[in-house]
Structures are given as C-alpha cells and as structure tokens.
C-alpha cells in the first residue's frame, strides 16, 4: 500500500484534473532559448515582433517543460508514476508570450491494466494550457504508467 495521493485507481475516466498556474517571465523565456532554441523570436521582444508570433515568445520545447513542471507539482510527485513511454502528440496552438499566465487542465481519456506486468496500469490523458485570456495555447496527449495502490511495496 502507498500513502501517495495518486495511484492507478485514482484516475477516473472522464475526470478533469486541475494542474495549477504558471506565470511566464521574459527572463526565463530568454534563458531557456539561449541554451536550447536560440531563434530571434525566443531571444528578444524585437525579434519576436518581427516574427509571425508577434512578440517575445517561449520556445515550444520550453512550453513542454513548463507543462511538465505543472504536471509534476499537481500530480506526478505525489503519485506512483513509473514514467511515460512517449507523447502521442503536442500542438503548439498559439504563441506563449512574455508576461502570460498559463493554467493547466488534464482530462483522463481512459485507462487499462497491463496484461504482462501485474499492478502496472496505463492512463491516457489529454492536457491543455490556457493563457489569461482563456485561449488554449498548448495541447498534449499521452499515456502515463502508474502502479496500483496494492502493487507499491511499503
């Protein structure tokens, strides 16, 4: 048994989970981009304005990373997570601009127990990030692996 809040059993098909919020600063956009995605629209306000994004905007990979942090803090760090085999798809739907506040939400699409590994389950989810104007800016679909409550060694 586990004292952790989120085990396989706790994900209910159709349920929507609140992932909390994240304010996005110009400084962190530039910091991430300088290391991983050094394109002009991610490095300065001026560079962003000259692109079709319209202003300094986060690298899509940075948005993925910010989403991951929200998911960790809301669910994964207090769960029986065994990692994820991958991501079905990510859509970068609208620019994430400096000063935006992102709010995350995840819906449980389905779940099933593994046939080969007793106590392990697969939970498929569709998550979305919305900006402060209520516009959906990011969408992600994936399958996470979680142990059942009974399968966790105490």
């Amino acid at each position: 048994m586990t004292a952790r809040k989120w085990a396989f059993e706790d994900f209910i098909e159709g349920a929507t989970l609140d992932l909390g919020s994240k304010h996005v600063t110009a400084e962190e956009i530039v910091e991430f981009a300088s290391e991983f995605d050094a394109q002009p629209m991610h490095l300065s306000e001026e560079g962003g304005r000259q692109s079709i994004l319209g202003g300094l905007s986060a690298s899509g990979w940075h948005t993925c990373a910010m989403f991951m942090r929200l998911l960790c803090d809301a669910i994964l760090l207090d769960s029986t997570s065994q990692g994820a085999p991958g991501i079905e798809q990510v859509k970068w739907k609208k620019p994430v601009l400096a000063g935006d506040t992102l709010t995350g939400r995840s819906t449980v699409l389905g779940k099933r127990l593994s046939k080969s590994r007793p106590g392990l389950g697969f939970v498929s989810m569709r998550a979305e990030l919305f900006n402060q104007r209520g516009k959906s800016v990011f969408e992600l679909e994936n399958v996470g692996m979680f142990l059942s409550r009974e399968a966790v060694p105490s």
Partner: protein
C-alpha cells in the same frame, strides 16, 4: 535548385553529439521535471530506471539545440527568395525508447520527409521532419515526427 534539394528530402543528416553530464541533468530536472530519478543519484538507483537519467524533455530540448546548430542554411539558388523558417505547429509520435543515463553521449539526427502548402497562410509551407537520437551502443533513445512552417513565397 528546388525546395526538395534545399531541404535534402529523404536524407538523414547527422546533427552531432551531446554528452549528458550528471550536473546538467539535475539542473534541468530541478527546474522542469523534479522527479527523483532525474534529480538524485541515490533515489534513481532504487527507481524504475535504476540510475540517474535525463528528463525526456531534456533530451528533446537538446535535439532542438543540435538541430539549430546544423542549420539548413546552405546557399539557396532556386527561384524567388530564400526559404525562411518560422515556428512549429507541434509534433507527434514522440517515443522515449530508452533512458538517457548520466554520462551517456547521444548522437542526434534529422531527416526532412516532405512539405505541403499551408492552407491558412498563403506563401507558407509545412515541412515534416523525422527526429532521432542514439546512445553510444547504437540503440535508439528517442524518435518523433516534427513539423516546421517555412515561408517560401
């Protein structure tokens, strides 16, 4: 020269390698993915992965870094202006096939698969890209299908 030549459609390009040092794995994970198997050697040993390994998002971010470092910035000798890269609408079928353990050197590749006009933005096309990465034993560690908008008109 046409767009197929410029994008080297069907050709796999080596994007070079990156060594994932334990410290940078932990620095990335503390910010974006603070699960114990990405932030702490001892906790990682007892985890499902058996050792400290990079966040899957760290591996994809380094693919992007290598991708930009090996740009498609060869000479454009076709008609009209040189194609100009814009943002990406997303990716699909990302698979984290094998953990990237601390100290591993990973080799990244890119192959442009094809391109089509973007209905919503005249003058722009969507370029489809296959991304892959391999560890020092030659095993594939990640793959995904990426896309990027390119202004061609």
């Amino acid at each position: 020269m046409n767009l197929d030549d410029y994008f080297a459609i069907g050709v796999t390009t080596d994007l070079g390698s990156h060594k994932f040092e334990p410290e940078e794995i932990k620095v990335f994970a503390r910010k974006y993915d603070p699960q114990p198997f990405h932030t702490d050697e001892i906790a990682a040993r007892d985890s499902v992965f058996g050792g400290l390994c990079a966040s899957g998002w760290h591996t994809t971010a380094v693919w992007m870094k290598r991708n930009l470092a090996t740009g498609m910035d060869g000479r454009w000798t076709g008609p009209g202006p040189k194609p100009e890269f814009g943002p990406s609408p997303g990716f699909k079928n990302l698979k984290w096939l094998k953990p990237v353990y601390a100290g591993e050197t990973i080799r990244f590749t890119r192959a442009c698969l094809g391109h089509r006009p973007l209905a919503s933005r005249p003058g722009w096309r969507v370029l489809a890209i296959r991304a892959e990465a391999f560890d020092s034993t030659g095993d594939k560690v990640i793959e995904f299908e990426n896309a990027v908008l390119v202004k061609t008109g």
